[in-house]
């Protein structure tokens, strides 16, 4: 099914086509179409292939080409000459490598360029005979299809259908109405690319030792085979293909037949012996039956084109398609308890050395998904893994190292940074949990016991978490969550950035324990940056230019950020794309993720203005614009531990005056939603010199010569009236 040897027939075809079209083409030499194009007869025979076809078009940058070399053949493309001559890549002619036909029953003669690292550089259809591209679909569609390969790595699992990053599958958009053509073309591209990539050492051939079977002589029933996993089911629901109705769209059972115990169970003894007698070395037989659903797994593409365009087998990067001659009738399943079926097939995998039944493989059903509104069709692939149970293999299943999912790979790759980052977050949490001791040690004159930690957290957040790890949480993540909660939750999506993921776990926990201030005030890279700038400016003597908005104005403006958040959330319901654009109200991307001067000027101006303002006003963005802050502020209402207040706070304005966040109102209540947990008021709370009620008491006791007792957890000196025994008891 994958003839990877050069085919004399294919060459003959081209020569013959050349003959046939010689006269016709004299009249139409200007024709741009490659439909039944005239190809020079030498193309298939001459060692100097590139004299006859534009090799440079598919391998840009190359100015000279070698003769055909290797088996199957390819040419090398070079730039420069003499000592400076450098290998650019490789060019191959598809028909040198495979004669796989497309819909017309003839191959699409394709010139393929690949750079020295194995990335496709160009694809040019020299000649095709596809009537559908002459009559219904513009030829450009094929050119566009081929263009998708440019820049893709030959070793990637390129498949028609949607990309599935977690399975390492790179999707290609098909041409609606020309499935057979694109299935064949993808096979041709991969066969050709891999054949050459393996020869030149870009791809290491994956040695999969052939399976050695254990023939137990048992006659398992259908149910037993299902339970042990030697039969697999692939079921597609109507919803998965955009259709409606009850029951599956298609339900298939499939299994591997070369294994003697299983083959005999399915085919019966004589059927099995007969099938095996017909197979050549390297051939593998599988069977498929349809037990439910009205969709055919055969379709009709094979009738004229000879290729089954709805089923494939995939093992690693090797894809095996089936030709009409790879199909055999399956009349019945011998195993007792087999379900009734309405469609059946035996397919032969011409695996050569590439396929081994000892290793897992996937059976792929290629479906069409219809968008209910637009009626447009997209290709979706459904697959199901098959791996012979260990008891059917001599020595059991071989060890297979499965590639980690992308997210896990990232987590492993960044393990060190993840540990460091987690340590930062835990450190801050531990420091904050012990705030009582720190604030007691501080005073309104010396806040270093608290601020020392906070400043360190800031610096690490800004430079390590922010600029280093790009771990800047953003409102867009909140929007994504909302959508995930509403539509589809995919852990892989969130796990793909470990730092953001960990950050969010931290944020969610701390918001409900202590309020959003711990993140916003201590760890947000941008927030920390702005406040650090403010503090540095003050230290540098700019204090006199620094100001706060009047409280009344502030109390109005602080609602703006909530409006921004609600607005973004509303927009995201209609257009996630637009919402993400509008989320540029966050200067994070400009400032931290990309770089202030790497973006177009409006972004730079906006972020620059906010940063500039931050020198004079403490955290203007956080206070008035930050939608993320707004989003976190709301659940902060329900935080578990608030800040402490005393009875006198309702009249005393001492803390409010010093509150950088302007979070304390005229009645002395702290608005926990606005509070960034700077701890200034908490320092004051225990400060017998700073907190007016305490200062008053201290002065009274000094005057009276009374003992200065410790300040209790309630923020007052421990009363001395009490009898010591009672106090001790307390």
């Amino acid at each position: 099914m994958i003839p990877t040897i050069d085919s004399p027939v294919a060459r003959a075809l081209m020569r013959y086509a050349a003959l046939m079209l010689l006269l016709a083409c004299l009249a139409t030499t200007a024709g741009a179409t490659s439909y039944e194009a005239h190809l020079p007869p030498e193309l298939s025979t001459s060692p100097r292939m590139c004299d006859y076809v534009p090799c440079a078009e598919v391998l840009p940058g190359a100015d000279s080409f070698s003769e055909r070399k290797g088996s199957p053949p390819y040419v090398e493309g070079y730039r420069g000459s003499g000592d400076g001559k450098k290998l650019v890549g490789y060019v191959m002619l598809s028909t040198d490598i495979t004669d796989l036909p497309a819909y017309s029953g003839k191959p699409v003669v394709t010139l393929i360029g690949m750079d020295a690292r194995g990335y496709f550089t160009g694809v040019k259809v020299l000649k095709h005979s596809e009537p559908i591209l002459l009559l219904g679909i513009p030829e450009q569609a094929l050119i566009d299809f081929n263009h998708q390969y440019v820049g893709k790595f030959v070793g990637d699992q390129l498949e028609i259908g949607q990309s599935r990053p977690d399975e390492h599958i790179v999707g290609l958009d098909a041409i609606t109405g020309a499935t057979v053509t694109v299935i064949a073309q993808n096979q041709v591209m991969l066969n050709s690319g891999m054949a050459v990539a393996k020869q030149v050492g870009i791809l290491k051939p994956t040695p999969r030792a052939a399976a050695k079977f254990v023939d137990s002589g048992a006659a398992p029933t259908w149910q037993q085979m299902v339970e042990e996993g030697s039969l697999q089911r692939l079921s597609v629901s109507p919803a998965e293909v955009g259709s409606s109705g009850a029951g599956p769209f298609i339900e298939l059972w499939f299994g591997y037949l070369n294994q003697p115990t299983l083959g005999r169970a399915i085919l019966g003894r004589s059927g099995y012996d007969r099938l095996m007698a017909d197979l050549k070395p390297g051939d593998h037989a599988i069977f498929v039956i349809r037990t439910a659903g009205g969709e055919s797994f055969k379709g009709s593409g094979f009738v004229r084109g000879g290729i089954y365009d709805r089923v494939q087998v995939r093992q690693g990067r090797d894809i095996f398609s089936f030709r009409d001659t790879d199909y055999l009738n399956l009349y019945g399943v011998a195993a007792p308890g087999a379900p009734a079926f309405t469609e059946s097939a035996i397919f032969i995998i011409h695996g050569g050395n590439a396929f081994s039944a000892a290793y897992p493989w996937q059976f792929v059903f290629l479906g069409n998904k219809t968008d209910r509104e637009t009626r447009t069709k997209t290709f979706v692939n459904f697959d199901r893994e098959y791996w012979l149970p260990a008891n059917y293999l001599q020595g059991g299943r071989p060890l297979v190292v499965k590639p980690d999912p992308t997210w896990l790979k990232i987590w492993k790759d960044r393990a060190g940074a993840i540990v460091a980052f987690t340590a930062l977050l835990l450190g801050v949490a531990v420091v904050y949990a012990n705030r009582d001791g720190l604030v007691r040690r501080s005073s309104h004159k010396n806040k270093w016991p608290v601020n020392g930690f906070k400043y360190v957290a800031w610096v690490i957040s800004i430079f390590f978490a922010g600029f280093g790890l790009l771990a800047q949480p953003s409102i867009t993540q909140v929007l994504t969550w909302f959508h995930s909660l509403l539509f589809q939750w995919k852990w892989e999506l969130f796990l793909s950035d470990p730092f953001i993921f960990i950050f969010w776990v931290f944020i969610i926990v701390t918001v409900f324990v202590w309020g959003r201030g711990l993140f916003c005030g201590w760890l947000c890279p941008f927030g920390s940056l702005t406040e650090l700038m403010y503090k540095v400016a003050r230290a540098l003597g700019l204090k006199r230019f620094q100001t706060m908005l009047p409280k009344r104005l502030h109390d109005r403006l602080k609602w703006v950020k909530y409006a921004v958040f609600i607005g973004l959330l509303a927009v995201s319901m209609f257009s996630m794309g637009l919402a993400e654009k509008l989320a540029e109200v966050e200067p994070f991307k400009t400032t931290i993720l990309v770089g202030l001067f790497k973006r177009s000027w409006p972004y730079t101006l906006f972020a620059g203005t906010l940063l500039g303002l931050s020198i004079f006003i403490e955290r203007p963005f956080c206070k008035y614009l930050c939608p993320l802050g707004a989003a976190l502020a709301m659940p902060t209402t329900f935080r578990w531990f608030g800040l402490k207040r005393k009875q006198e706070c309702d009249t005393c304005k001492a803390c409010a005056k010093g509150c950088g966040s302007l979070a304390i109102d005229r009645d002395g209540r702290i608005d926990q939603r606005e509070c960034l947990l700077c701890m200034d008021c908490m320092i004051l709370y225990y400060d017998q010199h700073g907190c007016p009620p305490l200062a008053q008491e201290r002065r009274r006791r000094t005057k009276s010569g009374l003992e200065m007792t410790r300040i209790g957890a309630d923020g007052y000196f421990i009363p001395i009236r009490q009898i010591p025994t009672q106090a001790a008891e307390k």
Binding site: A12, Y16, P131, G271, T325, Y331
Partner: protein
């Protein structure tokens, strides 16, 4: 022409067939004196219409549902192949069962304008040609198709079919479903019955078909080259053995009387033929003169030993060894080559039961079916039986005009009754008990009317050791009122009967073009065909399109063409008037089912080239002008454009 028809037409063309048949049968019956049997039969048949009336009273949907059960819905496949002779059409046909859909006609002895059988050089080489290159015969009359066996059941390798008209045997390879060999039998006429052996009688290791046996009906002077034409006493019949692998005639046996149908034992030891003309009569009345005819059993091992020992002669120019199997030459059973088991007159058809124990030989003019026990025949050959007649262990009366018998593997036999237009289901062991005098034995289990006048009848896999007892097909000779009228020549009916239950159920009328005689119903999994041809199978294949062209050697011109839809490799080619032109075409398309045709107007050329196949034709270019050769088999959206000009220069 079938035997059954011969019987009537030759006798009295002015009488209506059926009227005559009844009289003839009664005459036959009277001779045997079985009026009791007759009346009992009549009772049974009277019973059948009553049952039918009951069914009529029941709502029609019942019958409909019964029918629907046997339909094959779109997209689903039949469960059996029915390989069927085509009678005097000279071909073999394949039907799908239970649907009755005609799947293929395989030209064998006839010409076929569609595939070009008899047109291409390849088919002519198989058919045999006259010195001018035209086929030796273009007519044929196929009656019996049988498959090769391995281990007692069909192996899907070959089918063998007779040509009664020109006494030829043909072999069809079942991977391509094409005739690959035709052999003309010497010294015989009216080669009718044929059957492959099932294992080797000498070499136990060979448990597959290696011989095919052929029975000749018509006796002729030997050699038949003008001598003894008016001395009917000198006319003789021969029984022939053909090698299944080489298709060469191995040997022949000279016998008393004639041969008709043929059966072979599962152990390979015996071949049998029934004989209706013991009298060696040349006229109708003469053939029915004797009260007893026979069923003959050939001891294959002894015959081959005799050939080996040189105890044979040859006849005329034929080199085939002929051993003497006449009664006079074989007085001692212990050394006899042939055993003659006497049976009621004019028996028709001999069939072996799937367990290999019994041969059923229907009476035709006797309302009986004789059961001959296989191991008793072997005993006769060992000299342990006084009289060969002792090998007959049952002879139940089953109805009028019994012809052929099929088996279901559950102990029942199903015999066609030509005159009664019925199928009778009877129990073999019960018949044996009844023959021994057991009055309580219930022989006949069921009867069913068929429409009308069945000839052959056969069961699914019934001629193998794996009978499944599912279906019986009754090939009926008359179909008046069963189908839309299509003119005086009527289709025939293959009626399908479900025999899986206690009662037989008629479930389908399949119309068939005249005239299938015998068929075999083969489980579908046994057959495995090729999807496309192999280029290398053809010595003349043009493997590369660039090898196309016109190659001249004097007056002989070879035109080499390849085809790939939608074009021939040569858009035109030139030859000269008077040239002997050979056109060779290789179809380079590889897609299954992508067959091309090649037709030349006014030159009477048309044939098919399947994917990867090579075919050729040779003709004389006598008419100058331009002749558009074109593809006749729809192949492509541009099929109409698939042409090539043959330019014949004056």
């Amino acid at each position: 022409m079938s035997n059954e028809k011969d019987l009537t037409v030759d006798a009295d063309p002015t009488n209506s067939r059926r009227k005559f048949l009844n009289t003839a049968a009664l005459a036959g019956l009277a001779g045997v004196g079985l009026s009791v049997g007759l009346s009992s039969c009549k009772q049974d048949s009277a019973h059948a219409p009553a049952a039918a009336a009951k069914t009529d009273a029941a709502p029609a949907p019942v019958a409909k549902a019964e029918g629907g059960k046997y339909e094959v819905p779109p997209g689903q496949l039949d469960t059996y192949y029915d390989f069927c002779s085509g009678g005097h059409s000279g071909e073999v046909r394949i039907y799908g069962l239970p649907s009755g859909r005609l799947l293929k006609r395989i030209p064998v002895f006839n010409m076929d304008a569609l595939v070009g059988w008899g047109v291409t050089n390849e088919s002519k080489a198989i058919l045999g040609t006259k010195p001018d290159g035209s086929p030796k015969y273009t007519t044929g009359d196929t009656h019996h198709v049988h498959q090769s066996y391995t281990d007692g059941t069909y192996d899907g390798r070959y089918a063998f079919v007779n040509d009664k008209l020109h006494s030829r045997i043909a072999r069809i390879r079942l991977d391509t479903m094409e005739c690959d060999k035709i052999t003309e039998l010497p010294n015989v006429q009216g080669y009718h019955g044929t059957f492959p052996d099932k294992r080797d009688p000498v070499d136990a290791a060979v448990n597959r078909t290696t011989r095919v046996f052929c029975g000749a009906e018509f006796s002729i002077p030997l050699p038949n080259e003008g001598r003894d034409m008016d001395k009917p006493d000198a006319y003789r019949s021969l029984f022939t053995c053909v090698d299944a692998d080489t298709m060469q005639v191995r040997w022949q046996v000279l016998i008393d009387g004639n041969c008709d149908l043929v059966a072979t034992s599962f152990d390979g030891k015996l071949a049998a033929t029934n004989q209706y003309n013991t009298e060696m009569g040349v006229h109708f009345g003469d053939m029915m003169a004797a009260e007893r005819d026979s069923c003959l059993f050939f001891n294959v091992a002894r015959i081959e030993q005799a050939v080996k020992d040189g105890k044979f002669k040859t006849i005329g120019s034929s080199k085939v060894p002929v051993v003497d199997g006449t009664k006079a030459a074989n007085p001692d059973a212990k050394t006899a080559l042939v055993c003659y088991v006497p049976l009621p007159k004019n028996p028709h058809g001999v069939n072996i039961s799937p367990d290999g124990k019994y041969y059923a030989c229907a009476g035709k003019l006797s309302p009986t079916c004789s059961v001959i026990q296989h191991d008793l025949v072997l005993k006769w050959f060992d000299g342990e039986l006084k009289d060969a007649r002792e090998a007959v262990v049952a002879e139940p009366e089953i109805g009028l005009g019994p012809l052929h018998t099929g088996f279901d593997g559950r102990g029942f036999a199903y015999t066609t009754l030509f005159l009664d237009s019925q199928i009778v289901k009877w129990n073999v062991e019960e018949a044996i008990k009844a023959f021994k005098g057991d009055k309580n034995a219930k022989v006949v289990a069921d009867r069913i009317d068929v429409h009308y006048q069945p000839g052959h009848g056969f069961t699914s896999m019934g001629e193998t050791k794996e009978p499944d007892g599912k279906f019986f097909i009754s090939d009926n000779k008359f179909s008046k009122d069963r189908f839309l009228p299509v003119g005086p020549l009527h289709p025939e009916t293959a009626q399908m009967i479900d025999i899986s239950g206690d009662k037989m159920k008629l479930v389908a009328d399949h119309a068939v073009y005249s005239e299938p005689h015998d068929s075999i119903i083969v489980r579908r999994d046994i057959i495995k065909t090729r999807q496309i041809y192999n280029l290398d199978d053809f010595p003349h294949a043009i493997k590369d399109a660039k090898d196309s062209g016109v190659f001249r050697e004097g007056k002989k011109v070879t035109v080499k063409i390849t085809s790939v839809a939608p074009a021939f490799s040569l858009p035109e080619f030139r030859v000269k008037k008077g040239d002997e032109v050979t056109i060779i075409i290789t179809n380079h398309d590889k897609v299954e089912d992508l067959t091309h045709g090649f037709a030349i107007p006014k030159y009477d050329v048309n044939f098919l080239i399947n994917p990867q196949q090579t075919q050729s034709v040779t003709f004389k270019a006598e008419k100058p002008g331009v002749y558009w050769c074109y593809c006749t088999n729809f192949c492509h959206a541009l099929h109409l454009e698939m042409r090539s000009r043959m330019i014949v220069e004056a």
